[in-house]
Symmetry: C2
Amino acid sequence: MDAEIIVVGSELLLGQIANTNAQYISHRLSSVGINVYYHTVVGDNRKRLLEALEIACKRADIIITTGGLGPTMDDLTKETVAEFLGLELVLHQPSAQAIREYFTRRGRTMSDNNLKQAMFPREAIILPNEVGTAPGAIIEKDGRTFIMLPGPPYEMQPMFENHVIPYLAQKGNEKIFSRVLRIYGIGESAVEEAIKDLLENQTNPTIAPLAAYGEVTLRLTVKCHRAQDPLELIKPVEDEIRRRLGRAVYGVDDDRLETVVARLLKEKGLTLAVAESCTGGLISNLLTDVPGISENLLETCVTYSNQAKINRLGVKPETLEAYGAVSPQTAQEMAEGILKTSGADIGLAVTGIAGPGGGSPEKPVGLVYIAIAMGGDVEVKRFHNQGDRKRIKFSTANTALDLLRRKLLEL
Amino acid sequence: MDAEIIVVGSELLLGQIANTNAQYISHRLSSVGINVYYHTVVGDNRKRLLEALEIACKRADIIITTGGLGPTMDDLTKETVAEFLGLELVLHQPSAQAIREYFTRRGRTMSDNNLKQAMFPREAIILPNEVGTAPGAIIEKDGRTFIMLPGPPYEMQPMFENHVIPYLAQKGNEKIFSRVLRIYGIGESAVEEAIKDLLENQTNPTIAPLAAYGEVTLRLTVKCHRAQDPLELIKPVEDEIRRRLGRAVYGVDDDRLETVVARLLKEKGLTLAVAESCTGGLISNLLTDVPGISENLLETCVTYSNQAKINRLGVKPETLEAYGAVSPQTAQEMAEGILKTSGADIGLAVTGIAGPGGGSPEKPVGLVYIAIAMGGDVEVKRFHNQGDRKRIKFSTANTALDLLRRKLLEL
């Protein structure tokens, strides 16, 4: 079964927002064996939406729209799809009731135009909106499935997961399954070199490398019967890749370096404290995105000024004077200082130059020192990261998390 | 002139990446008066790309593709466009030379397939790639403009800015110009209520409200002759909106709360130190994304554990015992503590429950206290934010930055 995604919204054509809905839906459809061959974005315009529907019907079995289900005059997806299919809109009482209750719960009065959101063709399966007011709908007509979803991602996603995926999963016999291997600390060409023969002889699973922001991913994709376990087909290839790349493979699918570090800290029952300078709190921010990290992360000091490095971490003024804030000596004292003053089991410290100012021929923008202190030992490593300020912060934070991960794996 | 953007890449149809190229190009095209009515995404597939080109030619004067210009077998955009237009590909010597030099500079040997990137129709205007190896091209044929750009955003964007925008700017006589007003601290419906009459009577500029992640934006868009100053048409409407919404309008266009706070700190010559708990370093991370902030931000303590709140900030154990870590009392002592121990002019403190665990009926997930200490005064405010862990962190960080911004405006 082939699907086309039609995202309705003039704000996308103005470049105001990115089309994350098409990405999300595509990603999820592939997991239930549905191919997506086209994304179309069209404005809030009846005539152009009609044309897009006509084109989509020529090339897809499943047509999924997002956006244009709201209460305003601009919202015309449902009206246009109904017109296209020759169906009449009538008030869906349970939806009208749910919308009224939505407003009552919030102590707000409902304006009448909100009931427009409860108008659907009689033939439609209504998809309740658990987060907002506009329900979605599925309509089967002439061998095609039309699925209309709201535009805001936080409304669309739960509706898609809870109602659309189960609906579609029972339609096909074949499924496509992907597993992403995540790799950090070696470059794309080195990865490709190491698995060259596997890349050249790939069949099922296929292997697709992608490099972005210092990380390399390998997407292993298998096609199999829906009753089959796709992981069985993936396992031998994954095992071989892991054998060759070793610890550079840090995780799979939605793993992030911070989630892997958090898991390792938990497994080993260790506490961490962080001293940041050029990353400005990003390492801490990434780690605290992981639920439950408060049991293992005691604290972070973002010692941006030299004075803070001295006061909070006990970095010696002489060290700063002699070697500068961006030096292996300062990184070492920061790591030792955060370890000692926090009482944590591990101290991680980062100092560097994020730019755009502050660089020099000896210490260029992107120069970074990362130190890990544990017990009586400190290890300091030097890196030179590239890009603008945000990119240097990001790659530095990830490099630090990766070093910490490798350290934890050794314990 | 109407444009259609065709993004070529199977990775988009698998949901592996978001279509940021279409967003970027759309945003920039509107500034030179070119309407975008459709985005199409199609895989690396000759037949389907041919069909997409055929459809695009029926509805657009300018067809812009991204992706598929690289050296591999999968890269077939140029070949397919040439086939579609009935043009022959020949080696473009200057491009071949540039690609050879690209490899030489990096001390790498060039494999022959790289020369595929230098093959173009004789009729094409070649767009040099200043960052990577694949040049782009512009072809004028039968009254239509075909523009082919590379897929990686960091290659596409400079090529678009330096070569495509100047090329297109001289084609049209009309331009569209947008200015975005950014609003924080009041909801979408309150904004719409306050400017209801302006929304109802909008002509040129048009006013488009959008709410996302706690912030409301109003996009003012004017159409005018390319010689005209669009800001003159926008100004009276913007002034009236600002008169009604007051300080809730925090900035325009690419302003962020953190850039506005950084600007105000700089203007007023004040230093800041931050004590974070539930935001986990996010406030600090946002502020340190702003170049030059190191002159005003001294340090941040992410005091995640109670012990860190006591050690680093001098929060009293009795306060934590009696009121808990998430309380106005603790927020106040955190703000006073960071002010005193850092020596900064302003202390900003945040404590709350980001979830998913840790909530109770009295102190639910999302409960947050924000305190600002300055001179001898401390102000504490209570908020209840909604959503998952990351969203609560994000809205809490922004609420804190907004409070700080309003405080700085009062000084």
